[in-house]
Amino acid sequence: MATYRELLEQVREQIDEIGVSEAASRLEAADPPLVVDVRERHEWDEGRLPEAVHIPRGSLESRIERAAPDRSAPILVYCGSGTRSAFAAKTLEDLGYESVSNLDGGIAEWKRNGFPVVVSESLSPAQRTRYSRHLLIPEVGEEGQLRLLESRVLLVGAGGLGSPAALYLAAAGVGTLGIVDDDAVDATNLQRQIVHSTDRLGEPKVESAKRTIEALNPDVTVRAFRERLTSENVDRIFDEGWDVIVDGADNFPTRYLVNDASVWHGIPVVHGSIFRFEGQVTVLEPGEGPCYRCIFPQPPPPELAPSCAEGGVLGVLPGIIGSLQANEALKTALGIGDRLVGRLLLFDALAPSFTEVVLRKDPQCPVCGESPTITEYVDYVEFCQRAGAHA
């Protein structure tokens, strides 16, 4: 029967151990190892190696395959002083991992030599409860939830589409929600604009939305822009580091302005639009898929493009389309799943049915094509009037 010390000695003879300087240079290399921290949560919270993933020693066998599906890829394991991770390295080798190294001296030695340590944000106990259903999903988990809390989503419009999108993004814990809208809450809005309510009639929509969102989730900071998006203010508003824009505008000039500005700022747009019983959703990802002008180079004439105020809309329709937009925005923020880039999803509430068409990037596109001819903001109202569409 071996003592702990003898067992440790045996394990150390069987594994590869590297010093902190060697580890630092491997992390700087073009093909760095996956860094696995095998300590307990409270130790991880106090500071970790940059780029490390946290898999406590007790969960190593069950969780390593998800983090490291390729058994030939290099792995660096560490703990506080290098002993727990020595056993972890041996376990990984037993599991068939071919290139495992243990950090000799652990994070203590790493810190003593002045190498950088990242203190990760962690969820508070209240947040762990609030977001528990997210934490249970492997694709989200604590890391994803922290990512959502740090993410910034800008909603253009706090109307039919913006209402459900704002509510679900806020409930999900998106840390900062920007809302651009210059309207006030009107009685005709309440049939579908669920972020507002009867006691808010006459109140600016951004203020009404802010109150609802803050009551729903105090983790969310709302940036209210009580103004209409124009060529003059769009750079100021878009410059605030948004990860994704949810376009729920109600007119063509704003749609084209959002498009051009997002291409130039490199911000993905989750586009949604609705009319009567039908809605459209797509994701416009600059550089990756088509922009709005690739799909619709010109707005249609008025008779083909009545607004909801003229043609009406089933109250639940923006609930469905705006929720689909929130879904795309959350996946964008989390970096998971397939998004509707290059795909337009059509929803028909009467059938009911979902149909999809393929959207292609236009190499001749005046904004995102190979030789752009529109390189600065135009008069979007005039552009749409010229093309025959009204605001």
């Binding site: 589409l161 109600d250 039908e278 707005p299 008779e303 083909l304 909801c308 068409v357």
Partner: protein
Amino acid sequence: MSRVRIPPPLRDVTDGLQEVDAQGGTVGDILDDLVSRFPGLDGQLRHANVYVDGEDIRVLDDLETSVAPDSTVILLPAMAGGF
């Protein structure tokens, strides 16, 4: 006969029909057949994108794109509504 999906803003001139059957071997023929039966569509169809079985005719052969009898043609104008 191919199925053609009529977008909501054009249904006022197709007697409210969401889908109609149309004759023709190409997109051009199909659209001509539609206009002959629903004259209110005249001049409107050029503002809509046309997709045959989910693909944009602009990357196929445009109005010359062939349409099989079991194909579905989708007419899709831009919609701005969000409020």
